[in-house]
Point group: C2
């Protein structure tokens, strides 16, 4: 093959490993809030990139995702005119991001990949969120890495190269796994290898997304079982 | 009882979870170096506190333990007049700290404690070192935390309080577990609860250490199985 051995697999998390849309919709529905659960989940996530952009631009100082999620949630509750949640209920709802469910292939696939590689998160989620999520969803990370460690949000190069530095490996020995092409493009620009994973229903069963991925990715996988198989045969 | 529930257990690692002295002595002996393996291990570890002190004082800029270990190793090889290791062999020997063996009760005890608590490292070892060690010794951490995350070495308060911030818990809900009283004293000064673990042979079978611990510790345990039992009954 000639490809350099992959030693570290770094995973994007929201949408790639866990089903944020389904998990949040279900919890909002169970709460009995007078909103469309799908729209609530989608709008909460839509606030995420603009909030992080404010940190990247310096408009906001370094702020953890837990706190960004809360700022977006407060706007969302106002938008939907929801006034009957007390502070404790809001705090609990905000931590739904710690209780997201894994896609059904995630745990089995990660356990396979862990046998021959170091598997870690590389998420903009904070360390506490990612650790609680891992306990909840039984995600067997070797190490939980986060933008919080590097004090920069993806797609800042310091996050991708930070993984390489932490494990003392070359970018070519590191692979970012994600369901989002923009994340993979930024990683490839830093010299990392990339694996695109199809998560057609990231935005819900009613809103399938295009999962063609770029031909520039090192690998393209249907799910984590497929990715584990491809890695076992190629690396 | 009246005690606040412990939610996070943070573990010192070298000496507390893993047997650095035995592991290094064995590897040095297997290498066939013309030295007393016990003395070699002990001297390597003795260089650790002074090296970190240089970082704390600002004499050295922020430096990872892997690099501090290498500086001490180079001095040690000169001290013992060992000249027959090439660069690759030195790098491999330096990473013996990534291959330390767990005390025989560590893995079972950690798996028990993990059921009701978040278990994480709080070590001056760097993230890559601690992650490789966890894979090698099958340590089931929920999260690998390190001085590297906080850019301060223990006993700096930012390390102990950093754990509380990461998991959004009060110091009283956090317990440091260590075989070293000075580490526990520094954690208690920050408001954390403390558990002393007896590791009588941390410095080798021939050099048993005093394991009385301070009466100010919240708990005193013979080993991790005993600690898991005590936590299950009290918290």
């Amino acid at each position: 093959m000639g490809a350099k051995k992959i030693r570290v697999l770094a995973f994007d998390v929201f949408g790639t490993v866990v089903d944020w849309h389904g998990s949040i919709s279900r919890e909002v529905k169970a709460l009995g809030l007078d909103v469309d659960p799908n729209e609530f989940a989608t709008r909460w996530r839509q606030g995420y990139q603009p909030a992080m952009a404010k940190v990247a631009s310096g408009e906001l100082e370094w702020t953890l995702i837990d706190d960004l999620h809360r700022m977006i949630l407060d706007d969302l509750l106002a938008y939907f005119s929801i006034v009957d949640l007390d502070e404790q209920q809001k705090q609990h709802l905000n931590k739904v991001w710690h209780r997201l469910s894994a896609w059904e292939d995630s745990v089995e696939g990660l356990n396979c990949m862990k046998m021959n590689h170091t598997i870690c998160t590389l998420s903009n989620g904070n360390l506490g969120l990612l650790t609680n999520m891992a306990k909840h969803a039984r995600l067997p990370w070797d190490c939980v890495l986060s933008a919080e460690v590097f004090k920069k949000y993806k797609p800042d190069p310091n996050t991708y190269l930070g993984v390489c530095r932490v494990f003392d490996v070359d970018p070519q020995e590191t692979m970012l796994v994600a369901a989002h092409q923009s994340d993979l493009d930024a990683a490839r620009a830093c010299g990392l290898q990339t694996a695109y994973v199809e998560r057609r229903f990231e935005f819900g069963k009613g809103s399938p997304k295009c999962v063609s991925g770029s031909s520039e990715n090192t690998l393209h996988a249907r799910d984590f079982i497929d990715l584990a198989d491809q890695l076992a045969h190629k690396y």
